[in-house]
């Protein structure tokens, strides 16, 4: 393989189109919760990797919020050195099996790929996913840990921001304890994103890996309730807050509190964290509607609508006030949702949820919209069409219009500065907050964004914390952490 790869280098790429990943057939997968794509096999990965031109200036890297050394790892894939390729990625991104699956690549690394200018971009995400899975399945060596520094750091919240920060600090020799409010670590990765998109075994593997690095993870522990940030500062040398944007936004329309109106968080938590899809063996119930309407068109909405289908809904409908072009979800998710028969009602917006005599949902009243001039976000502004009221009968409604920052920490930490949106104000280049020795990052600082942005923030904070602990000056390092919005 090695010699072949060498030959192909420097040669004009002949393959213009990317190699698709094999997936479960739509008619099969809507009946199970197994992962949809199977992932590349070794031969496919090598084939796709050969499409990479190994550009010297590597624009793709600038599209990645944590600057994964993309050409370097892809070169190792070309050479069949998969474990080494994973090691290269892990110098910048500690959770590649996850980001390979959930990053909005089409807006990030792959958006800048040179191949994409004329043909299709290299499947960077699929390759990242492949090498991470390969390394996991073929046994990764634990990195050598430095001498303990004797410094202690508390991390609040076990989402991607907190876990990344914890991992980086452990690798620098610090003693790290992660406090998590729920009974399992992972944040949105464990309670929000469904099994069919991100198998929970992968999340568990990654959290176990951290435990092997010596990170202590304490579940069922709510900072602000069991202990305050102030108290943590007495026991620890520094505190990182990565509590996410876990407070559901609800629509201000009549009927929002009818029975069987869910926030996407509730619906997905019942199914993912508590395995409601295995009810009654697992005891947490979830309503299996005949017609389920999800409002919104981000990743969260796609996850909810596709979950509903898998729970047996005959119709799973997405109602979104803009058009397909404006869907904030990953392109792959919208595509998979379409394949699975999700019924998209674009340019449609709900005005009222209608209940029956027992206070249960029976229909949704909507208005049709048309697109007008671009608004302040640059997207065409949807304008309601007069007299277009219509009723869609349904028995479950899921609201997936976004999340606000989790309020527990700001409420219980006086002097911690927050914005009018409730996010914790940080220096985005260092993760520092208004409180000495307290750092923050991820969705709690930016509002709902992406997994990779949260991880990037965790990394930046880990660097600053390390400098503080070692008595160095904290400086603002240059990096291009652009926070892609994922406003559901």
């Amino acid at each position: 393989m090695g010699s072949e790869a060498k030959k192909s280098r420097g040669r004009k790429p002949l393959v213009r189109t990317r190699l698709p990943m094999a997936t479960q057939r739509p008619e099969d997968r809507v009946k199970n919760f197994n992962e949809v794509p199977y992932g590349y096999n070794e031969a496919e990965a090598v084939l796709e990797s050969q499409r990479c031109l190994q550009c010297r200036n590597a624009p793709c890297v600038k599209g990645c919020p944590v600057e994964v050394p993309i050409p370097q790892f892809i070169k190792l894939v070309q050479e069949g050195k998969f474990v080494e390729a994973a090691e290269v990625i892990k110098t910048k991104n500690s959770l590649p099996a996850i980001t390979g699956r959930v990053c909005p690549q089409e807006l990030q690394c792959e958006a800048r790929c040179v191949m994409g200018r004329r043909y299709q971009p290299v499947s960077i995400g699929n390759l990242e996913r492949f090498v991470a899975d390969y390394a996991r399945e073929h046994g990764e060596a634990l990195p050598e840990l430095p001498e303990p520094t004797g410094k202690k750091v508390a991390v609040v919240g076990a989402g991607p921001a907190g876990l990344t920060c914890a991992g980086d600090l452990a690798l620098l020799g610090h003693e790290v304890t992660v406090f998590e409010a729920l009974h399992a670590p992972g944040g949105v990765l464990i309670y929000g994103i469904p099994e069919f998109r991100l198998p929970k075994d992968i999340v568990r593997y990654e959290t176990n890996y951290l435990k092997k690095l010596g990170v202590k993870i304490i579940p069922n522990f709510i900072i602000g309730k069991n202990k305050t940030v102030k108290e943590l500062l007495n026991e620890f040398d520094a505190v990182f807050i990565g509590t996410g944007a876990g407070s559901p936004r609800l629509l201000k329309i009549p009927g929002i509190n009818l029975v069987n109106v869910y926030s996407a968080n509730e619906y997905l938590t019942r199914v993912n964290l508590l395995k409601g899809y295995l009810f009654p063996e697992y005891k947490t119930p979830v309503k299996k509607g005949k017609t389920v309407i999800t409002i919104g068109a981000g990743n969260v909405a796609m996850d909810a609508a596709r979950t509903a289908k898998r729970l047996g809904a005959e119709n799973s409908i997405i109602v979104y006030r803009r058009s397909k072009k404006e869907c904030p979800a990953r392109v792959e998710e919208v595509h998979h949702a379409e394949e699975e028969g999700i019924d998209f009602r674009f340019l449609t917006n709900p005005i009222r949820i209608i209940g029956d005599e027992n206070g249960r949902v029976k229909a949704l009243e909507c208005l049709r919209y048309k697109l007008g001039e671009p608004d302040e976000t640059g997207r065409a502004k949807p304008i309601p069409i007069e007299g277009s009221e219509h009723i869609i009968e349904c028995d479950v409604v899921i609201i997936a219009i976004g999340n606000n920052p989790n309020p527990i920490i700001p409420q219980t930490t006086p002097d911690l500065e927050t914005s009018k949106w409730g996010t914790i104000i940080t220096n985005s280049k260092t993760g520092e907050t208004s409180l000495q020795r307290v750092y923050a990052g991820g969705d709690i600082a930016t509002g709902a964004a992406t997994v990779i942005a949260a991880m990037g923030a965790g990394k930046i904070a880990a660097k600053s914390i390390h400098k503080q602990l070692m008595g160095h000056e904290i400086d603002e390092e240059e990096h291009n952490l652009e926070v892609g919005k994922c406003d559901s």
């Binding site: 069922n220 609800l250 947490t284 249960r360």
Partner: protein, 290 residues
């Protein structure tokens, strides 16, 4: 991390008392707060009010009513068994300062919750009259504990088998009719009971607090399962409550929402009984094979 059960006792045919080791919870908790328990990997997250606690021993107590699959299963746990997950104390403690002449009302299982709250009102310097009620004599409990500190105690049963025959609203109405000075009413129990108490006190302009037990999931404000309409606002019971101004709560909406899983609860119960029966059979077979 697991949580050891230090002791259990059947209070009566419906209610079980349980003491659980959890120093962190015992150290912090205050009257009116609750915990969420997930007994095992397949379990539901069950919210239960902290009925009592002992800082020195590092333990707290709950009393629960076996109404469905999850609470029935929890009832099979015995002294020495481990609970997989316990998180708390959750919710805002009951505000007891300056409540004045207070009537604390506990209906049914609500007696367990009313007890520490009544004690907290008393300890905060208020005069406390307690009214408790149950369907029948057998389901009453905590009488001696309440007698030991309350300034007055009235007991009712629906069937008249003990104390006054009738609902807890009756003695409350009588106190009001007699012109007794009442500054605050605190109530906890079935929503329908709280709704009627609220109707009575509203007429007389008596400040009334109700402790709500909506359906919950995470208990940290993440899911909105517990939401209720209070006045013209939506509140999350787990983080904004569980106590709310009873006159502002939309009771009908809340009652409908607690019934959300009626059908599923039946399925869960059937499944539970089937599993218990199968397990019993297996054990019997194993015995015979020995």
């Amino acid at each position: 991390m697991s949580f050891e059960i230090l002791d259990t006792r059947e209070l009566n045919s419906e209610n079980t008392w349980m003491k659980i080791k959890a120093p962190l919870i015992a150290e912090r908790c205050k009257a009116g707060q609750f915990v969420i328990i997930r007994a095992n990997e397949k379990g539901e997250r069950i919210p239960l009010t902290i009925a009592n606690w002992d800082k020195e021993e590092g333990s707290f107590e709950v009393v629960f009513q076996k109404v469905g699959a999850s609470t029935l299963e929890l009832g099979t746990y015995k002294k020495g068994d481990l609970l997989l997950d316990v998180v708390g104390p959750l919710g805002i403690p009951t505000h007891t300062e300056g409540a004045g002449n207070t009537v604390v009302i506990g209906g049914g299982l609500g007696i367990a919750i009313a007890t520490p709250v009544a004690r907290a009102y008393k300890e905060a310097g208020n005069k406390v009259h307690v009214i408790i009620g149950a369907r029948t004599k057998e389901l009453l409990f905590n009488i001696e504990i309440l007698e030991s500190f309350a300034d007055g105690l009235t007991i009712c049963t629906d069937d008249g088998s003990f104390g006054i025959k009738g609902f807890v609203t009756q003695p409350l109405q009588e106190m009001i009719d007699k012109g007794e000075k009442i500054d605050t009413v605190f109530c906890v129990g079935p929503p329908i009971m709280m709704k009627f108490i609220s109707k009575i006190t509203e007429k007389h302009g008596i400040h009334t607090v109700a402790s709500l037990n909506t359906i919950m999931l995470d208990g940290t404000g993440m899911c909105g399962a517990c939401r209720v309409t209070v006045g013209d606002e939506i509140k999350f019971v787990c983080v904004d409550g569980p106590d709310f101004d009873a006159h502002l709560v939309d009771w009908d909406e809340m009652m409908a929402r607690t019934q959300a899983y009626r059908e599923e609860e039946k399925i869960a119960l059937e499944h539970y009984h089937k599993c218990r029966a199968e397990k019993a059979l297996e054990e019997q077979n194993a015995q015979e094979n020995k």
